[in-house]
């Protein structure tokens, strides 16, 4: 028995590990996806054209897709595969970050593109789609692996998911995988988010559900984790002992860009805060995960959201500011006010700007305010997280400019110029003890002049590889909605109050400035 056992052990050691590929060792790319067929629901839409197909082409160009990969477009529009390929070529020509398009690579890529016409509510269409996919398995060796991408308006999510389940397209032979990517918005409030999650989880196991928030695919967002947990010097300061407050800004200079119908039903709180800003908050406030794996990371993010002190409806006025832009200027050109925008209710009370004060009630952050703000038609497009440290406990240098010395600020720039900077005081050369603040900056663009992949490229590849770390888990979505729901309830009770406004091209309403100034603080002007 002992001899047999030893022989078995030796055999295992000598045999190549079939679950991994030894040829991958030392290569920059750890692995590429198994052959797969990806179905894009809503393939005639803007997201497919602008983001998905260009991202997939770029992945193919980078040789990150396997031989035999296939992409099936599914939509209501009548279109042949030939026409679909031609339209997608135009899309890649227009939107790929890797232009001009390489004809030979495109031609090889296009062989894997096909189109099936069908109504999202028509069960027969899914029958045809399934048969088409089986044929692809035979012809291109995709083995039954599927990635379903919901690139449709959210109204169709339920129908598509139910039909996939009814036709068994959520299941396959053992050792194959069937995953689904759900685009935001994940519901429009807590109730609808829970209903959507329930539908998704009736058909797909949670581990196969990839809720995509493209913000998490951005290189700098991922770098927040690297910066915090790969450097020993910052983490000891990253707490209530040293941090005065945190500001998270996601500013857009554009207006609603023709999305009036959608935006007027949504507003900045749902459109930006529930997802993007909450994600940034969790990454900056979370505890170190036990390992860089999907669930440990997401567990820590959820803990932050659970620790966020609810803004009870009666406190909404104290802890939030919402506003709407009125006519103003963008880059010197006059722009209309929100209520004058196309397909916006002229009496709309939808907010285009929101500022929040949140507290994360846990050991690390107790008493430290996190100020979040986002808005449209602000002076520039920028996203940053600023950690403002407490002032030195004793000011040795008095008089002159000393009293106006600004505290240290560590800024994580997310877009458009990704980088990290630290503001600190130095002595101005000369006989006097004059101090001034200087910036020490690191910019990705000047240190690594290497083009970062688009967020969709990174996230699509992760979904194909089965790594959900950068995707949002069910409990994350629902906990974030819980925070937002309370605020929405509070705002609903404030209908009689006038809605603050701000001139387009400015940093928001005066109420937002007062919001911080009454606490002796001020917004940064990034």
């Amino acid at each position: 028995m002992t001899i047999s056992s030893r022989a078995s052990t030796i055999h295992e050691v000598e045999t190549l590990d079939a679950s991994t590929n030894p040829l991958r060792e030392g290569l920059l790319i750890e692995r590429t996806p198994e052959p797969f067929a990806m179905v894009i629901f809503g393939a005639s839409g803007d997201l497919t054209r602008r983001k998905l197909i260009p991202a997939l082409y770029n992945l193919a160009l980078e040789r990150l897709l396997p031989v035999g990969f296939s992409i099936v477009g599914f939509a209501r529009q009548e279109m042949s595969t030939h026409t679909f390929r031609a339209k997608m070529r135009e899309a890649v020509d227009e939107f790929s970050r890797r232009r001009p398009v390489d004809d030979a690579v495109w031609s090889s890529f296009a062989e894997g593109l096909s189109y099936v016409r069908g109504d999202f509510t028509d069960a027969d269409a899914y029958e045809r789609l399934n048969a088409h996919l089986s044929q692809i398995d035979q012809e291109r060796g995709t083995l039954g692996n599927r990635l379903h991408y919901l690139a449709t308006p959210p109204d169709f999510y339920d129908d598509i998911i139910e039909n996939l389940g009814a036709k068994g397209m959520n299941d396959g032979p053992e050792s194959t995988w069937q995953r689904i990517i759900v685009e935001k918005p994940f519901g429009h409030d807590l109730e609808s988010a829970m209903a959507l999650n329930a539908t998704v989880n009736r058909v797909f196991d949670e581990r196969d559900v990839y809720r995509i928030d493209h913000y998490l695919g951005k290189e700098t967002v991922q770098n927040i984790i690297a910066f915090r947990f790969a450097n020993g010097i910052f983490e000891p300061l990253w707490n209530r002992q040293y941090v005065d407050h945190v500001q998270i800004t996601v500013a857009e200079s554009i207006g609603i860009e023709g999305r009036g119908g959608y935006y007027d039903q949504t507003g900045a709180l749902r459109d930006m805060v529930q997802n993007h800003l909450m994600q940034l908050l969790t990454l900056v406030a979370m505890e170190p995960p036990v390992e860089m794996m999907a669930d440990p990371v997401r567990d820590e993010k959820v803990k932050v959201l659970r620790a966020v002190r609810p803004i009870r409806p009666d406190l909404a006025r104290r802890f939030t500011v919402r506003a709407q832009y009125r006519a103003g200027f963008e880059a010197g050109e006059p722009v209309p006010g929100y209520r004058e925008e196309d397909r916006v209710d002229p009496d709309s009370r939808t907010e285009t700007y929101v500022a929040l004060k949140l507290f994360v009630d846990n050991w690390r952050w107790a008493g430290v305010p996190f100020y979040l703000r986002t808005g449209k038609r602000l002076p520039k497009r920028t996203s940053e997280i600023a950690i403002q440290f407490k002032r030195a406990p004793h000011l040795l240098f008095s008089g002159g400019s000393i009293d106006r010395m600004e505290p240290n600020v560590l800024t994580l720039d997310i877009q458009p110029d990704e980088g990290i900077s630290l503001k600190f005081a130095v002595k101005v050369p000369g006989p006097m003890m004059n101090l001034r603040s200087v910036h020490m900056g690191f910019q990705y663009g000047t240190s690594f002049n290497i083009q970062s992949p688009d967020a969709y490229e990174r996230l699509l590849l992760d979904a194909l590889l089965g790594d959900p770390t950068l995707f949002t888990r069910r409990d994350e979505v629902e906990t974030a909605w819980t925070i937002v729901n309370d605020i929405m309830t509070g705002w609903a009770r404030m209908q009689a109050s006038p809605l603050p406004t701000y001139e387009a091209g400015t940093w928001g309403p005066p109420e937002a400035d007062a919001f911080l100034s009454m606490e002796g603080r001020s917004w940064r002007q990034p």
Partner: protein
Amino acid sequence: MMSTKATPSGHIDVFSGDGERVSVDGISRELNRLWADISRQVEEQQGHVPLRTTILTLVVVARGRLEMRQAHEALRGLAEQLPSRAIVIEVGKPGTPFDAAISANCRMLAAGRATCYEVIEIRAPSDRLEALPSLLVPLELYDVPSFMWWVGDVDFESAGFRRLTQSAERIIIDSSRFDAAPDALADFEAFLEGDTICTGTDLNWARSTSWRELIAQSFDHPLTQGLLDRVQRVEIGFDPSAEAQAMLIAGWLATRLNWSISEATQSRNETTLRLRSRTGDVIVTLTNTSAAGVGLRSVRILAGSGSRSARIAVRRRSDDLAAVSVEVAGIPRQERVVRDRQPTLHELIGQELLVHTRDPVFDEALDFVSGVVTTLRSQHG
């Protein structure tokens, strides 16, 4: 003696062979002066002082005009990619004096950003190389990795080489610059295995990266991965200048898949290796196609047999395209065309500068190549 260009760049001949002693202090002082001047230029143009980031020191050793030109071309390309301090050593004729010049350059990018680099150029007589570390060591930047790139061929046994490499953390050679590339790889391996603490790499290893990735990717497929320990035959075709790449590919496959050499034979255009895997013999042939190209031409792998078999092929289709085909028993043959442009010299160096620690995969492949060379040498007396 000093000239500063109007663009955010500058050049100073610190010493021009006029008898003044080349000193670290002198070079550092002039470098500071140069940067102050450039900062003023940038501030005038952009309204702010440029933020400088330097992520490595690169020491370049070159001989003669051609190598110096290649070194400078590569540095210009690298500067946009990796802001760095480069110390270029031009090995001159014996008996000539030491000489030094410095230059710095900021390339303005969008949104007021700039990448900056600086070059310290030292001309040193070939008979005084042993004195160079006293200049090099203090000029290398602290806290960032230090690389040494030998542009041309190298005498690994020479005292100059051994002395200069004492301060390098990582050495980059280009075996394609050697008359007998496999022999050079064997000598390089012997040097790295010796009492040096530095690590090394060969640009031919970087040149083979894309093909290694394509081959590895072909075995990511669940139906082919199980056949990795049943490889029977590997055929590598290469253009005359790519013998080292072919050898390194063979060494990479052999060491990743635990094959050992049992026999090596060589004819004019072909090397045949008989290797032992856990499941049987593997025959690897390396064929010089005598084609006019400059790289690998094809790698074909046959694994398994009968209903459990696969044929993998990566072949060059044109200067910038490769085709990958996978043929698994029971599934129609799949082929994909991928872009595979030969990287420029600065891209290759840039790729290697991103790795500053030992690369055990390269080391093992190099060790294998050295073993093949030793076996061939012993068989040919």
